[in-house]
Every structure is written in structure tokens, then in C-alpha cells.
Symmetry: C2
């Protein structure tokens, strides 16, 4: 006299979502069935469709419906610049700046020894091949300034420099609009160490 | 040069889940596509299956794959007792006590004027019909002790009493294992007002 098996299966199925435990999964299932059946049907359909058509762009590794994504195919992008980011979300953030017109490589993760993710699991050899296409002059490493993002940047710069590709890292410092009073000491110390000369 | 449309659609589709905003939906979509495609396929399948087979038990209103749920069909349950709960989760909690062998009625909600949910939206007439089947002797109201649950209990008891059905409410007081020091003053005041004589 427990729950119907299809309801049990749905609650269990929802737990594949990150951050969703047994209680949330139950709440989600009841909400969908009671209050949003069209939304649930749409979710089933969009999941199915995404699984069918989405794969990785062979060049930049982000999600794409085609072998090469629209960005990698565009003649308007500067093929001499390659920006390495951890995730497609980071790629979107970079695009929103409208300050970059080069191409990207999406790692789909970061070096994280505690989670068993090393250079091999990240398939960094694919990035090396990409960076060695003869057109790329500079690789801009835009991984996060977390411990794992920094470790990833360190690996990458070692690997790329030994192959004679120019490597740079996005700047770190006081955020635009930030007040010294509210910036953490570590950031402020770095901003001091990495100070730039002011030219007239 | 935004995201592939199937990815956009999936992120939008995930937002039908309660408590999931744009950032979480994006994170969920990337997680599923990158790290758990079997889980995503299973979620699509279980959603589809649940939508196909799950409806409401015609007697107790909980989710069921059949016209009458297994519990309502069981000859082992005491048909003279009817316990009214807000949600299927609350029904599960009651069952876990193993202290109740009667039947249930699941409101699938609560009276909540601010959300535009009144007695009509809750279809309380269906509960009245159910309670008036001639077998039910006592209706035990087990809605939450929140403002909305209390308002719902008040409505129900008024409606049921005028029809000559016995009505009771689950007790309220200091939780088992609870220490007075950590119980809020309102609960303690109620526990005092609703004190019971101790019999030898």
C-alpha cells in the first residue's frame, strides 16, 4: 500500500538533478502532477529532444546541434585568439561582455584531484591539438580564480608554453565598482602585487 | 550565436520545477548533458510514464494508477474512520506511524485566500459526499497546524458538523522527546490550555 510504482519511479528519476534530494524530488513530483502537467510534458519532450540532437562541437567542445557550432563556423571571429573556459555558462558570460571576438575552447570541467579529475579525464590533449592548428597565436586562460581553476590554469600554461604558443590569463583584482573596504584581503594583495604603471 | 535552440528549450523546460530559477535550470541542463545522460533519459521516460498512467483515486483523491487505489480497495482498512490530509506526503507520514488503519481523503491543497484557493477550488463538496457514504463515523482532520491548515480545518469542521458526522482534530502540543526549553511559546501555551487529566 505504498505509492503507485510510476510515482515512485518519477520521484527517483528526479533525483538525477543536481541538488535534489528525496524530499525535494517528492515535492517536485506532486507539484508537476497536481499543478503543472503541461510543464511536465514539455520537460519530458525538451529532455528527449536535447538528448537526441545535442552533442559537442568538434572544435570548441561546447554543446551544439551540428558538428561545428555556429560560432566556430563564423568568419567574423578572430581565429588567432583562443579563450579557454571551464563551462558553457562561463562562455556565455564572456560573450555578454562583447569585449571578445576570438574563438573558445570549453573544458567542460576543471582539474580536481579530489574528484578524480586529472588532465586525462579533461581530455586536455584535444585542447592541445586545437591550439596547435597553426592559426592560434594566443591562448587566453579564463578558468575561475578558485583553487581548482588555478590548478587547471597552471597545468594548461605548462603544457601550452612547452609547445611555443603564447599564453595569457585574465586579470585579477578589485572588481569594477568595487570598494576597497569590501574586497577580501587576498584579492587586494593580488591587486597590489599586479599593479600596472599609469601612463599619461 | 547564442545557445542551440534545443538547449535553450531544455533550460526553459526545467523551470517548471518548483524552486528552480534561470541559473539552477542552466546548471541542471549542463549537468545532465555532460555527466548524466542515462539519468536524463530515465527522467524523460518516468515523466512520460507518470503523465500517462497517474490520475486521482476516485475515493480518496490521492495519485493512483487505477480508478480506486490499493488502500481504498483493501478490506483490511477500517471504513468507519476517514482522515483528511493536505497532501500525499502527509498521507505517507500518517502511514509511517503505523497507528492508523482507517481510510484517507487527500485535499491536494489547503484553503489559502491569498492564493485564490477557497473551498470551491479545493472541491470540498467531493469530500462531503465521501464523508456521507453512511459508513464513515468519524472524520479526523489532520491538516497542518499552520494558519492555512487551521483555516481549512475550521471550514471542514463547520461543513461536516452541520451534516451530523463526528469530527476530530489531531492533537497539538509538545513534541515527543521535546524539551520545554526549546518549544516555542505558542505551542507551550496551547499545550497548557489543552492539558489532559492524568488517570491512574
Amino acid at each position: 500500500m505504498g505509492m503507485p510504482s510510476s510515482l515512485d519511479a518519477l520521484i527517483e528519476g528526479l533525483r538525477c538533478l543536481p541538488g535534489v534530494g528525496p524530499k525535494s524530488a517528492q515535492r517536485m513530483a506532486y507539484h508537476l502532477l497536481q499543478h503543472d502537467r503541461p510543464g511536465a510534458q514539455n520537460l519530458a519532450d525538451t529532455l528527449q529532444q536535447a538528448l537526441l540532437v545535442l552533442r559537442h562541437c568538434q572544435r570548441c567542445n561546447t554543446f551544439s546541434e551540428t558538428d561545428l557550432c555556429a560560432r566556430c563556423q563564423s568568419p567574423k571571429r578572430d581565429a588567432s585568439l583562443l579563450c579557454v573556459v571551464e563551462t558553457p555558462v562561463d562562455l556565455n558570460m564572456m560573450e555578454q561582455t562583447q569585449a571578445y571576438s576570438g574563438l573558445y575552447y570549453v573544458l567542460m570541467g576543471r582539474v580536481s584531484p579530489l574528484d578524480g579529475i586529472g588532465p586525462r579525464e579533461l581530455q586536455l590533449d584535444r585542447l592541445l591539438a586545437r591550439a596547435g592548428d597553426g592559426l592560434v597565436r594566443e591562448v587566453i586562460i579564463a578558468t575561475n580564480y578558485t583553487n581548482e581553476g588555478e590548478a587547471t590554469a597552471h597545468y594548461l600554461s605548462q603544457m601550452l608554453k612547452s609547445r611555443g604558443v603564447g599564453v595569457s590569463r585574465i586579470a585579477r583584482g578589485v572588481p569594477v565598482g568595487g570598494e576597497l573596504e569590501y574586497v577580501d584581503a587576498g584579492t587586494l594583495a593580488q591587486a597590489l602585487r599586479e599593479r600596472r604603471p599609469l601612463l599619461d
